[in-house]
Amino acid sequence: MRVNVTVNGEQRQADDVWEGESLLFMLRERLGLPGSKNACEQGECGSCTVYLDNVPVCACLVAAGQAQDRSVRTVEGLAEGDQLDPVQEAFVEAGAVQCGFCTPGLVVQAHDLLDRVPNPSDPEIREALAGNLCRCTGYEKILDAVRLAASRR
């Protein structure tokens, strides 16, 4: 089937999509956007978090067809050219990135949190990021990064 979808502000079209493909697969393998990650593909780890119509979701559990005529924003769509989003900048500075496989999902989820709650408390940050698994950092520097980004936005 053919899927028309707006991705990072651009109208995109994916052809020959097999019905069983997820939005994640379509983004990664058909639209050249592998930034959203495939760590569990069961909605358990949050590494594939993207905005779907401005709401963060796990792209792995969205059937490709569900994205028809909708708007998707991925981690690749956060920076303005060379200028990183403050959340991205803070993740690098705070040492919140080790292997980085969880990072795209966390960056999108943290971006959404700060859009909704500009100065979140620690418990609010933790609750917002509870659907994103990280195995390298023990999360402390991720919290640092979100606090840092909040202070700059």
Partner: protein, 325 residues
Amino acid sequence: MHAFDYAAASTVRGALDLAGPGSAFLAGGTTLVDLMKLDVLTPDRVIDVNALPLKGIRLHDGALRIGALERMSDVAAHPVVRSVHPVISKALLLSASGQVRNMASIGGNLMQRTRCDYFRDVTSACNKRRPGSGCPALTGVNRNHAVLGTSDSCVATHASDVAVAFVALDAQVVLRSKDGDRVAPLEEFYRLPGSTPDRENVLGPGELIAEVVVPVLPWARHSTYLKIRDRQSYEFALTSVAAAVDVKRGVVQDVRLAAGGVAAKPWRLRAVEEALKGGVAIERTFAEAAESAVDGARPLAHNAFKTALLKRTIVRALLDAAGAR
């Protein structure tokens, strides 16, 4: 994944016309897509119902009415839900993760399947997935399984949190088919496994959940949902309890209680409710009443702890809902 047709419907009629044996409705997709990847569900046709007009959250005729396609996150955050039935909001917020709640619908949540690993593993026997093939959970790894409402065919738990709250509140579901609407109490919507664990509810072929109707119970503003799980977040219940208590002058006037994580379906605790009515709202009353919660329980090798844990969970929930702590 099994091959299938993908069709999108924009009207209920259209969706029902497309439906047939071997078809499945797709709302949020968080259960369906997951189980299709595992080949647990193999529909020939998937009907995307997201464009159907089954939305809206409103108070009408003494009831809170929630459209089946409302997202879990929207329902949880809705001011009317939070003020009229906070237990619904709490149960939703203790389910899954933010990202999943943003996709998953209320109707889909009620239709979610068990987390039994044998059900999810297509190389295993499972009476629910392949009737007559057997139930390895009876003698296998059954720590997470049910102790109430089980049968020799199936010991799986029902996985939903919000259904527990709904059942406590006497919620009904509006079921829509080409023949029109019918209404069923949610508690009776779900079937016990018996010898046919593959038939989990009373939904007929070509029928879908249109709406959830929750009677308003003014005193149920004092309600809570609490959940025991293996980590702080994003995990299914070992035990959970939805509780609403009406206490006047220290005496329990009325109460609604249901449990999750322990039973084959969301488990209303009527005997406990009866034992509580007229009692003094203190911990000892709650503990004594909770004893009957596990009448008829059939613990397995690895989940016997759930019976005592359920009773303690009930006590904590009552303390919280009664404001006694």
